[in-house]
Symmetry: C2
Subunit: 184 residues, 2 copies
Amino acid sequence: MTIEFARRPHSHIPAEPGKPYFIDKGMGDRAHLFTDLVTVYAGGPQTENSFNFFTVEGPRGDIIPAHSHPNTYEVFYVTQGAVRLFVEDLEGEQQEKLLTSGDFGFVPKNCPHAYRIERHHSQVVGVAAGPGGTFERFFETLGTATEELGLPRQPYVPAPQKFATVPQQYDVTFLPGHQWRTQS
Amino acid sequence: MTIEFARRPHSHIPAEPGKPYFIDKGMGDRAHLFTDLVTVYAGGPQTENSFNFFTVEGPRGDIIPAHSHPNTYEVFYVTQGAVRLFVEDLEGEQQEKLLTSGDFGFVPKNCPHAYRIERHHSQVVGVAAGPGGTFERFFETLGTATEELGLPRQPYVPAPQKFATVPQQYDVTFLPGHQWRTQS
């Protein structure tokens, strides 16, 4: 995906690709979506659309809606707390696993998946990319860009009409009615 | 890069791409190179050559040799300890920065760079990929694959002839004589 997005006025990611840069902890491009904070440190414009790099932080909460990505492979690497990852393979076999600091989960394209943050102050490092590009701006487009540090003070609930257009632009297919038969 | 490599007999990365998987902390495909432990959790075969995901752990030590990657963008995300990253842009301007837990550094293709681990038990998460592919098997090819957990008990020094062939196969160009003018 090479969707145009407005560069943040205070972004620490250089406007010009090809420049080395450093970003202090937490100071990437931030977005709020529901209860979570997503921080983007690099994306398609920095890597010739090869990959991106972002973190997701959130409080203990509910399982997020099941979804899949037709063209995107996704890494979940937990650096803090505990996150339960649910994933279904292309044959319909389901697995779930509680990931804690240093544990890794991999979701190939087209595999339904979801997660549930099971401990406050959890953090996941994510990479989400594939041959079609990268989708790091999904979070600020469905959610909202923010200059704040930290989790949303109130959950940010997207306007309903956004769900009709934003997910497909960013290679996200929600799977309403999907059941996790593993769910404990 | 789509170099063939022998799959590890005990690898937790599924032989068949397209399968979801989980890997417990430290249990990815491990290699020793000099004083460091590199652990690969995902690579080109898992992502249609879009990206990889690995960690580098090491003791406090010397600066590694300056090098660049003609086709590879590289992420340094420190999760533990302290690592000083040195990088030069395409105009020859040099920067260095001490990264600690949660800090991020980005090195575009063709930019000379090096790092020095400045605290024992440091860990860096890396992604190294570009339009030419991924290069996660560099470490076990120049160094040595291991089933051990933890850092090398003795530094693994590659045979000199390996330096003549392995780096260029994995998009690594060493820059002998390169000077870091920033070096403190």
